[in-house]
């Protein structure tokens, strides 16, 4: 009966070769895992999805906070570590609700906010380094800060 494995190797050599193949396979898997993880983290680094969600939530919360204030308010919204000019912002009164957030080509990330029912405003701010909020009585105006 013919023996399996490499003909030119003895039993001990066969065992060494098999172990080498297993170890080389494991090293290959290790490289594969590293590659998958690095690609995953790299893709997240470039992704602005989280920034859009954060900004949308923050702006809706900002609108709620400003409308909660009993007096007149002027506030400039800006960040040192985040370039706001990369995003398009929307503050919009729809028929059934009003929303604030970030819009882009693919999908709009907007969240609703509450205002007094009598006030109605529609503003679109985009490519601004900072946004200016001015609240006078029940009227809130959002403009690009020049």
């Amino acid at each position: 009966m013919q023996k399996r494995g490499f003909k030119f190797l003895n039993k001990k050599s066969q065992l060494i070769t098999r172990n080498m193949i297993i170890h080389l396979g494991m090293i290959g898997i290790l490289f594969l895992i590293s590659f998958v993880l690095f690609s995953y983290v790299k893709s997240i680094e470039k992704d602005t999805e989280f920034q859009k969600i954060f900004l949308s939530r923050d702006l809706a919360l900002m609108m709620n906070t400003l409308y909660s204030a009993p007096g007149n308010v002027e506030y400039t919204y800006s960040f040192d570590k985040l370039d706001l000019s990369k995003f398009k912002f929307e503050f919009k009164s729809l028929e059934d609700k009003q929303v604030a957030g970030v819009i882009d080509e693919s999908i709009a990330k907007t969240y609703p906010y509450a205002k007094p029912s009598q006030s109605k405003e529609e503003n679109l701010v985009y490519n601004a380094n900072s946004i200016k909020f001015s609240k006078n009585a029940a009227k809130l105006t959002v403009t690009k800060n020049e």
Partner: protein, 172 residues
């Protein structure tokens, strides 16, 4: 297959399983450090509570000078039939408000009487069941109680009171 080969195969299966476990652990750890959600429930519910508390609809207003006294609850306003409507109009999310709801409980500490009213009662009743059932995830809701010591203006008398606002917001 001899005994040694069978043993080696079993060992290799365990090795493979171990590598898979390590792979998923690393993936899980990598994902755990990447924030993908923004949870602002506490801030939102506190903000709603303060907004209700500061609103003209429950606070006493001096009609002669138009001043609104924050922290002084007008009992007439609080017990009026229109309060729920006026609160919905002052904190207006839209025709259908599926964003926020609250229960306001005013306790007269001098006479030990409790009064209650609601902001968006329809949503409150709907979501309260889910909060009590302690369900989590989308579709469910969370609640947060905020307490204020207030004065109650009952005609000409000023009484000591406590206002408890239970805000219920749907999970998003």
């Amino acid at each position: 297959m001899n005994k040694k080969a069978a043993f080696d195969m079993i060992v290799n299966i365990f090795r493979l399983l171990f590598v898979i476990v390590v792979f998923y652990s690393i993936l899980f750890l990598a994902r755990a450090f990447i924030a993908q959600k923004v949870d602002i429930f506490d801030v939102e519910s506190k903000l709603l509570a303060h907004r209700l508390m500061f609103s003209n609809e429950v606070s006493y207003t001096d009609k002669d000078i138009g001043r609104n006294y924050i922290g002084v609850i007008d009992l007439k306003k609080f017990n009026s039939d229109e309060i729920e409507e006026s609160l919905l109009n002052s904190i207006y999310y839209g025709k259908i408000n599926s964003e926020a709801s609250a229960k306001l409980t005013l306790k007269d500490l001098d006479d030990n009487i409790e009064y209650e009213t609601f902001y968006n009662r329809e949503l409150y009743d709907e979501k309260k069941v889910l909060v009590e059932a302690k369900l989590i995830g989308k579709g469910s809701a969370q609640s947060l109680d905020t307490n204020f010591y207030v004065l109650i203006k009952d005609d000409d008398k000023l009484k000591r009171g406590a206002l408890k606002i239970e805000a219920i917001l749907p999970n998003s």
